[in-house]
């Protein structure tokens, strides 16, 4: 197994763990953190591809994409945290009210 494959697969594992965290933990902060770390997992996959061609200089394009991705992730996380605070202020709860789902989709 080459180091490129190893890094890419580790990134995929991080993403998979975060998807599990996002769907199985109801607390909003945990969900937001799961999304945030999922982004980092994807960035790891991206960066692993910058050494796609062995022996050559690293490809700079993945770095540019990851930098842009980090900016987007920071904004998204900040907005999600602010929204979670508003939800907590108004509903006095850090969980989404599941009963607001139509009954046939609860779960």
């Amino acid at each position: 197994m080459t180091s490129v494959t190893l890094y890419a697969l580790s990134g995929m594992v991080v993403v998979a763990v975060c998807v599990y965290g996002l769907v199985s933990y109801p607390h909003l902060i945990r969900k937001i953190l799961a999304i945030n770390v999922m982004g980092s997992g994807i960035f790891l996959v991206f960066l692993s591809f910058s050494r796609r061609v062995p022996g050559e200089n690293p490809d700079p394009v993945p770095h540019a994409m990851v930098l842009t991705g980090i900016v987007v992730a920071v904004c998204a996380t900040a907005f999600a945290l602010a929204l979670a605070r508003r939800v907590h202020e108004v509903t006095r709860s850090s969980y989404l009210p599941e009963e607001q789902d139509p009954p046939e989709e609860a779960g």
């Binding site: 999304i35 591809f49 394009v61 540019a64 994409m65 907005f79 939800v87 108004v90 607001q100 789902d101």
Partner: protein, 479 residues
């Protein structure tokens, strides 16, 4: 003018977003000027595409992979026309709707301009990473718009929508990473030319499709849509249902036919088609049992999204055009419907169907707009919805997949059921209609004009379908 008209639909709303954020006084004027400028640019661009074929434009002369390339074919032009005209109507409606709420309006204008700009970015981007940026910007501004009034239902629905939207975009981004790792390029066209079936490309296809199905609310991933679309302020409901879901649908369409054609299997297309058919039936049944008008309209969106996905199973030029035409006519009809419902809800205090009894006597224009928009959703001749369904039906017969014919026709009947149930309430004469607020000037007329356009789309479909064939992936349906 050649070439530069393509940046206007992105730059103009972006400029307006920045200006309306700093200068609140002229926000409405600036937004209306932006709308007019966007329409002019999009019409010029469409004529150029019709005349010269697909256009591409490199911003600032920087080539890929560092620069950003824009691309407009018939599909992009039709989607831009949709966003320009529906967006203008939303701007006019919102000017009236928010006239008594300066605190909300202050944030509405910059966010709406951001959402509009990012939608146009999605329609015009030629590389898969820029599409991600557009998608993420659109998702965040859409959630911010939805939670503007800060009501309890809207906040929780918005929180759920944000998590769903971020998960969908990240799935797409992981797909982008895999595609870049496999091909080393980002341009849609170049990846499409080099595409080959392999585990990496199949994983990318699955990730992108699942992410976009989640963001477009395809059954069974539609759980977030009805609470989000029904609890938003009415101009926002209109733009979410009419435009925002079309953004992620457009992305899926673009990728399936321009990036992945060599990797998709007929079984994958059938899966999307079957989920679409299930969405039509399930969404319509749930719309039939709703007690609130805006929820009914939101479940109708779940059902109407189903029609868009049938084209992935039929795979003929007619089906492709029919699906896109459905997206177009649904945008006009659904925006009109949410606007009319919003006017009635604002005027009568809430949108419980019983409260709305007899609204036709006081607000005939809004009820008329609701009914006319309903004609397109039911697909009655000669509305825009009829043309779309006609194309889908003939494609289903041509490919011998008669079960889609049944679903499309049955879906029309169910739509008639839930819409007539709402109309029956609106038309019931009642002596006790208590009006709490008079509707703002222009809001009722805007809904009516949009509904009329949705109807007219059935009569003037020829030039639009012809524009759509420019650069169509499955070949032209016009011999």
């Amino acid at each position: 003018m050649t070439g530069s008209a393509i940046v206007v639909p992105i730059m103009l709303p972006l400029l307006a977003a920045t200006l309306t954020f700093f200068f609140r006084r002229g926000a409405i004027t600036m937004s209306l000027l932006t709308a007019a400028g966007t329409i002019a640019a999009v019409v010029v661009l469409s004529l150029e595409v019709m005349d010269q074929g697909p256009l591409s434009y490199t911003i600032g002369g920087w080539d890929a992979p560092l620069g950003i390339e824009l691309y407009a074919d018939g599909l992009a032009a039709v989607m831009l026309l949709m966003s320009a005209f529906v967006g203008t109507a939303i701007t006019v409606y919102a000017a009236g709707y928010f006239s008594g709420k300066p605190a909300v309006a202050r944030h509405f204008w910059p966010l709406w301009m951001f959402a509009w700009s990012s939608l146009n970015v999605i329609f015009l981007s030629a590389d898969i990473f820029n599409l991600y940026v557009g998608l993420e910007l659109m998702g965040i501004s859409a959630v911010a718009l939805l939670t503007l009034e800060g009501e309890r239902d809207a906040l929780t629905a918005g929180m759920r929508y944000l998590l769903v939207s971020l998960l969908g975009s990240l799935a797409y981004l992981l797909g982008v990473a895999l595609l870049y790792g496999t091909f080393g390029v980002l341009a849609v066209q170049e990846i499409g030319e080099q595409m080959f079936p392999s585990p990496a490309t199949w994983t990318a296809l699955a990730l992108v499709t699942a992410g976009m199905a989640l963001k477009t609310a395809l059954f069974p991933l539609h759980f977030w849509l009805p609470p989000a679309h029904s609890s938003a302020p009415s101009p926002v409901s209109a733009l979410l249902s009419a435009l925002v879901v079309k953004g992620s649908f457009y992305l899926l369409l673009r990728l399936w036919f321009d990036v992945f054609p060599e990797a998709v299997t007929p079984a994958a297309g059938q899966l999307l088609g079957i989920l679409g058919a299930a969405a039509i039936v399930w969404g319509s049944i749930l719309a039939l049992v709703q007690r609130r008008l805006k929820l009914l309209v939101a479940y109708s969106t779940v059902a109407q999204i189903g029609y868009l996905f049938i084209l992935f199973a039929l795979l003929t030029p007619e089906a492709w055009s029919g699906g896109v035409y459905h997206a177009l006519s649904h945008a006009f009809a659904k925006a009109a419907m949410f606007m009319a419902a919003g006017t009635l809800m604002h005027a009568l205090g809430n949108d419980d169907l019983d409260t709305l009894d007899g609204s036709s006597e006081r607000f005939p224009l809004s009820v008329y707009a609701f009914g006319l928009a309903g004609i397109t959703l039911m697909g009655l001749p000669f509305s825009g919805g009829f043309t779309a369904k006609w194309l889908l039906l003939s494609a289903a017969l041509e490919t011998g997949q008669w079960w889609y014919v049944t679903v499309v026709l049955f879906g029309g009947l169910l739509a008639a059921g839930y819409l007539l149930r709402a109309l029956a309430h609106l038309l019931t004469p009642t002596p006790t209609v208590k009006v709490q607020h008079e509707p703002a000037r222009g809001t009722e007329a805007t809904a009516l004009i949009l509904a009329c356009v949705a109807l007219l789309l059935g009569l003037v479909s020829a030039p639009i379908l012809e524009l759509l064939q420019v650069g169509a992936p499955l070949g032209s349906m016009i011999p």
